[in-house]
């Protein structure tokens, strides 16, 4: 029946050639057919509407535009011969522009993912039956805009708010003078023992605050511990040598040590010549500190702060020289060397904890307590995740995986 209808249409077209259908006759068939079929020269009806708008779902970066249309009257009904749609995009009104995609019949939505954010585009759509295209429907202009809020990363916001709230709360509490409990770090006893032994032996204490700049949080933590060490050496009248690799760290260390000696009531024992700037160059600094270890023979070497490849050079020379050594750093890659070559090591966060414990500075205490409770939150979330997985609630775990 359908074939007969087609033949009739062809005959009709032959006897009444219209301009549009002639064009269609000359046009190359859009979809190659394997079986030879009679040419269908009557184009299907065009899509009945076309709307374009910025894509809003799933929080994009403004690089997507959503296109929707109403089905051609011949798609699924009417002549029922629509085989697909052709979507094109142009930068100027009235132009056909580049073909974006060929879409199969029955579909009414397309997401253009190759959009430059903020650029205005014009879209046009035709339906076709494998040979003849319909008239064009036009829409636009529209531009892709980045969404204000990315919902897929909501979990990041939630956790960040929780973390900052905890830090702010603990800092405020500590600032008001409330006593926040921080357990004593075993490494601190080791520092005191080391200084004690240097005093007994009548030899100096060497304190290396790392080679980090002053803006490095490890250097700041180190200066807090230096203040504590300086108070002990001031009390015992033990010489304290502080070699530095950064000029600004040297002036900060001078201030810290001088202050400590004054606080203990022994300002005369402070020797500014012992706070030294050696070199900014990593290995030149390491070489010079090694020189101090061999020549001035300190009985206790304390390495606290940010260290890189020079860590082993320092700790090994100190070990060879027979000094008691205590190290502390949050540079994870250097910890193995300190653990091997030193008598005691403050690992990672212990350095910050020691600094907060000694200084009682509200900001440091707040940060330490905040990160402590963040660990509890993390453990709780992992536990919840394990349970969720066990009962098949995969979406809970997926909520964390933001990419």
């Amino acid at each position: 029946m359908r074939r007969v209808f087609h033949i009739l249409l062809v005959l009709l077209a032959l006897i009444a050639p219209a301009a549009g259908s002639l064009e269609a006759l000359e046009a190359t068939p859009i979809i190659e057919e394997t079986e030879p079929v009679l040419l269908d020269v009557v184009p299907p009806g065009p899509p009945c509407s076309l709307t374009v708008r910025d894509y809003l779902e799933n929080s994009d970066f403004g690089d997507k535009i959503e296109i929707e249309w109403g089905l051609s009257p011949d798609d699924g009904s009417g002549a029922c011969d629509v085989t697909g749609y052709i979507l094109s995009r142009a930068l100027a009104e009235g132009e056909v522009g580049e073909v974006l995609d060929e879409i199969s019949s029955g579909v009414t939505r397309y997401i253009d993912e190759s959009v430059e954010p903020g650029v205005e585009y014009y879209y046009n759509l035709v339906s076709h039956d494998g040979t003849s295209p319909s008239g064009r429907v036009w829409a636009g202009p529209t531009a892709g805009r980045a969404n204000l809020f990315q919902w897929s990363r909501f979990s990041v916001l939630v956790l960040m708010v929780v973390f900052f709230a905890m830090v702010a709360r603990f800092t405020a509490v500590a600032g008001k003078g409330a006593k926040l409990f921080v357990r004593r770090i075993p490494g601190l006893n080791a520092i005191e023992e080391a200084v004690g032994r240097a005093t007994e032996m009548g030899r100096p204490v060497l304190y290396v605050p790392g080679i980090g700049e002053i803006d490095n949080i490890m250097t700041i933590a180190s200066l807090n511990i230096l203040s504590h060490v300086a108070k002990i050496t001031a009390r015992y009248d033990t010489p304290l040598i502080v070699p530095t690799a950064r000029a600004v760290v040297m002036s900060a260390a001078e201030e810290v040590v001088k202050q400590a000696y004054t606080e203990v009531g022994n300002p005369d024992a402070y020797n500014p010549d012992n706070i030294r700037y050696l070199s900014d160059a990593q290995f030149a600094f390491a070489g010079a500190v090694n020189g101090i270890m061999l020549r001035e023979k300190p009985a206790a070497n304390l390495y606290m702060g940010a260290f890189w490849a020079e860590s082993l050079l320092l700790a090994e020379t100190g070990f060879e020289a027979g000094a008691i050594q205590v190290a502390g750093t949050a540079m994870v890659s250097q910890l193995p060397f300190f653990v091997t070559a030193c008598d005691f090591t403050l690992m990672g966060e212990e350095l910050y904890a020691a600094s907060a414990y000694l200084s009682r500075e509200p900001k440091l205490l707040g940060g330490l307590k905040g990160s402590d409770w963040m660990k509890v939150v993390s453990i709780a979330l992992i536990a919840a995740g394990i349970i969720a997985r066990a009962v098949g609630l995969e979406s809970f775990v997926a909520w964390f995986q933001t990419q």
Binding site: V156, D215, F283
Partner: protein, 211 residues
């Protein structure tokens, strides 16, 4: 010919540096100073031509590539002045009286970078890891992983004394940490040996053509 000369210079410098293994000597010192001096000069040139020139000098003085002002559109050239001036302010530290002005630039720099890092680090280092560690406890490996994680986190928990269950967990944590350090030490040895192999290969292959 040129290659032979350069390779020989490289080889002599390599041997000078390794002579330190025997003891400190003038050859080593010469090589060390040469490296420091050359790298300072090299960095200056690279930074200028790859950064200051295209990002500050070119837009401000309207040098153009093709028809387009470099980086920013031609009407936005003045935007490049802001970081340029902030950068220059860093040099105020040479004048003790105005040194404090440089802190503005430093503040913007540190604050900006901290802000840029905040969200990605929270995602990559915390959230994704929480998600990845919510493992079904159906295999020995998974149980091992969770116990290790729990122990290590407990070891770095400072708000309570390490007694009772907490003490046990913290002890487990320290064992895991030490195993981790051992692995990382092993990798480091491998790394350092690779560097030596690289230099030996340079000496034997590129310089002496013995292999």
């Amino acid at each position: 010919m040129a290659t032979i000369i350069w390779t020989t210079i490289g080889a002599i410098l390599t041997l000078s540096v390794y002579s330190f293994l025997y003891k400190d000597n003038p050859f080593y010192k010469f090589a060390e100073h040469l490296v420091v001096g050359i790298s300072a000069g090299y960095y200056l040139v690279i930074y200028y031509f790859n950064f200051i020139q295209p990002n500050v000098v070119a837009p401000v003085f309207l040098l153009r590539i093709g028809n387009e002002a470099i980086g920013l559109g031609s009407s936005m050239w003045w935007l490049a002045l802001i970081p340029g001036i902030l950068g220059l302010l860093l040099y105020t530290r040479f004048f003790p009286k105005f040194g404090w002005v440089g802190r503005w630039s430093l503040g913007i720099y540190v604050g900006g970078y901290a802000g840029l890092g905040l969200s990605p680090i929270m995602q990559a280092r915390v959230l994704n890891q929480i998600g990845a560690n919510a493992l079904p406890l159906t295999s020995i490996t998974n149980v091992f992983l969770i116990v290790g994680l729990l122990g290590t986190l407990t070891y770095f928990f400072f708000s309570m004394k390490h007694k009772g269950v907490l003490g046990v967990l913290a002890r487990v944590g320290i064992v895991f940490l030490m195993v981790g350090f051992g692995a990382s030490f092993g990798y480091t040895v491998m790394s350092r040996v690779s560097l030596l192999i690289g230099r030996v290969s340079f000496l034997l292959h590129d310089w002496l053509h013995l292999i």
